[in-house]
């Protein structure tokens, strides 16, 4: 296969942004992912939901190989994820990730958090990286904290910085692993607003979340997982309106009950 997946190639060249083919994964004897098949088109916004322990976090952590899968194929931007570290790092350059616990680098300022990877991985000159980082910090509405350290920010602010840090690498795909689960209720909205804006800009997004309002508003597709399987895949209107499976109906009734 010719290399159409140069980092400069625009997303139009890639048939699917992320493709899972019969992926299985075990933690020890415990099977966390069962025969996963999933195709995410460039620009598509996927919300992954399901009860805890259903494997949804593991699923998106396989996309940038924070978790290795054991059988099947995962192809990201036409690069297959294997043991090959160079391939893995190539994928990671194009895939941004936002974590539940923010994981900002506490010893670096907000600005340094956002310029570190562009400078060292993308080899962007420092001044340019700083200008770019400021642009993204403005986009997540926190430019005034550029010189602050993460420990001086609230949870919501930290998570917005984490989004800016991921965006500063100019990724083609963004992964969100329960980005609002560790936040106090009054801070959830500021983070969701940023994510909605990002979704509107056409970013390919895989989002694990319990925020069903967010799913209804921006998702092209909702992927419902239970016990390591993809149980149901549907556009949000259909998934929330007339879920096909019993398991999905149960999950929805529990999550919407409170």
């Amino acid at each position: 296969m010719t290399r159409v997946n140069d980092s400069n190639a625009d997303s139009g060249d890639v048939r699917s942004a992320v493709r899972f083919e019969d992926v299985n994964k075990w933690f020890g004897d415990f099977q966390v992912l069962r025969d996963i098949n999933l195709d995410v088109a460039p620009g598509e916004r996927i919300v992954v939901c399901g009860p805890s322990g259903s494997g949804k976090s593991t699923l998106i952590r396989c996309v940038n190989r924070l978790e290795p899968h054991q059988t099947g194929r995962i192809v990201v931007n036409d690069v297959e994820l294997t043991e090959d570290v160079r391939q893995i790092e190539r994928v990671r350059r194009e895939v941004g990730m936002v974590f539940q616990t923010f994981n900002l680098f506490p010893h670096l300022t907000v600005l340094e958090n956002c310029t570190l990877a562009p400078i060292w991985v993308r080899k962007v000159p420092k001044a340019e990286a700083q200008a770019l980082a400021m642009e993204y910090l403005e986009r997540v509405q926190i430019p005034e904290k550029a010189e602050a350290f993460p420990g001086q920010l609230s949870g919501g602010q930290q998570q917005r910085v984490a989004i800016a840090r991921a965006l500063a690498m100019q990724p083609r795909i963004m992964l969100f692993d329960e980005p609002t689960s560790a936040l106090d209720p009054e801070m959830i909205k500021e983070v969701l607003d940023v994510m909605v804006e990002l979704a509107r800009s056409g970013m390919t997004m895989l989002v694990v979340t319990h925020e069903m309002g967010f799913a209804k508003e921006v998702a092209d597709r909702v992927v419902f997982m239970d016990e390591g399987e993809i149980v149901e895949e549907a556009p949000p209107r259909k998934f929330f309106g007339e879920p096909e499976t019993v398991r999905a109906r149960q999950f929805l009734s529990q999550i919407l009950a409170h």
Binding site: R92, F99, H107
Partner: protein, 361 residues
């Protein structure tokens, strides 16, 4: 908003302080009296011996006719305590090397210093060669001073300096290796660390000075001091490795994941993200191990090298100055304490600087 009330008044003058801190209960009152009594028993005689009745003037043993300490003993032998048997005419070379070192370190202390990284690299990489050439000679017309003539505080500082400087990078590499996902690297590092940690330092020094030459092919000789320093550095490296490993374990797993997710390769992840945080956590332990290395230099006496303590002990047995060993030991203790305290103070400063990010705006 309601103005906040002032905190309750804790101290009611000196009397309140006394009551709160010294006489708050029967037990504490008792402890206070015992403490005062101990102070009165111990301190006056020591001050009397070390200061009031001590002899400082004069140059011979006969000058020491007071009942107190004979500091003349120290004064007369100070050059030997510092330089060992290093020839008097060549001692300027030692002074020069230390002056250069002090200058370099002073530069590093200036906070807005440009090119600090280069100065640090020069100090760590180039300076040791300059110092070695100055100490050993044999170049630029400097007469050779064999290492067997090195001694005293000078030797203590060289051994400790080399062991400390070598142990940190070695320790970091070993700690990273022990946490490596590659089984072979992990096994090698683990075995290495456990070997050196399991062997007494005295054994290492004996091995280096007595056994190693037996294994080397005939005609190949290494300097005894060099052998001791290599053994020492490996030993210290193994200890430092475990301290650094503790620091590595203290960095939350999320930090590793975030660094990976950004596409940073292994060495960059370690250098830019993990080690700066791990070393910060490990500083108290690292300093602890540095202080131990520094004080343990006194053990080189047993392989026939005369460090500060060794030379003091040797001179104290000089028939002309018999009976002044106590002064010598007190002096040695004071010097070691001064260096260790300085290191400890410096480490606190570094820690404070590195933890700035934890304080509020």
């Amino acid at each position: 908003m309601r103005p906040s009330a002032p905190p309750p008044d804790q101290s009611l003058g000196a009397l309140g302080w006394l009551r709160a801190n010294l006489f708050s209960s029967v037990g504490n009152t008792l402890l206070t009296f015992v403490g005062v009594a101990l102070f009165l028993i111990v301190v006056p005689p020591v001050v009397e011996w070390a200061v009031l009745e001590a002899t400082v003037a004069g140059t011979t043993k006969q000058a020491c006719d007071g009942g107190g300490a004979c500091w003349v003993f120290i004064k007369v032998h100070l050059p030997q305590f510092i330089y060992g048997f290093y020839p008097e005419a060549e001692r300027w070379r030692v002074n020069l090397a230390f002056a250069i070192l002090v200058g370099l370190v002073a530069l590093l202390f200036i906070r807005p210093m440009p090119k600090k990284g280069w100065i640090a690299a020069f100090t760590a990489v180039v300076f040791p060669f300059i110092a070695y050439l100055l100490f050993f000679g044999g170049i630029f017309g400097l007469p050779v001073v064999p290492t067997s003539e090195w001694g005293g505080l000078f030797l203590t500082l060289i051994i400790a300096g080399v062991a400390i400087a070598a142990s940190l990078p070695l320790g970091i590499l070993l700690a990273l290796g022990r946490r490596s996902e590659m089984p072979v690297v992990q096994a090698v590092c683990t075995v290495f660390i456990e070997f050196w940690r399991g062997v007494p330092l005295i054994t290492v020094l004996f091995m280096a000075s007595v056994m190693l030459p037996l294994f080397l092919p005939g005609g190949v000789t290494f300097d005894k001091l060099l052998r001791a320093m290599v053994g020492w550095a490996l030993f210290a490296g193994a200890y430092t490795a475990e301290v650094v490993r503790g620091g590595l374990a203290g960095v939350p797993p999320g930090q590793y994941e975030a660094a990976k997710a950004l596409g940073l390769g292994y060495w960059r992840r370690m250098r830019l993200i993990i080690l700066p945080q791990a070393l910060r956590i490990a500083i108290p332990g690292i300093v602890n191990s540095f202080l131990a290395i520094f004080k343990d230099t006194t053990l080189v006496l047993i392989i026939g090298l005369f460090d500060l303590l060794g030379i003091i002990q040797a001179i104290a047995t000089d028939p002309e100055w018999l009976g002044y060993a106590v002064e010598g030991y007190v002096f040695a203790a004071a010097v070691f304490w001064a260096f260790c305290y300085a290191m400890s103070k410096y480490s606190m400063r570094v820690e404070r600087q590195l933890n700035r990010h934890k304080q509020g705006v």
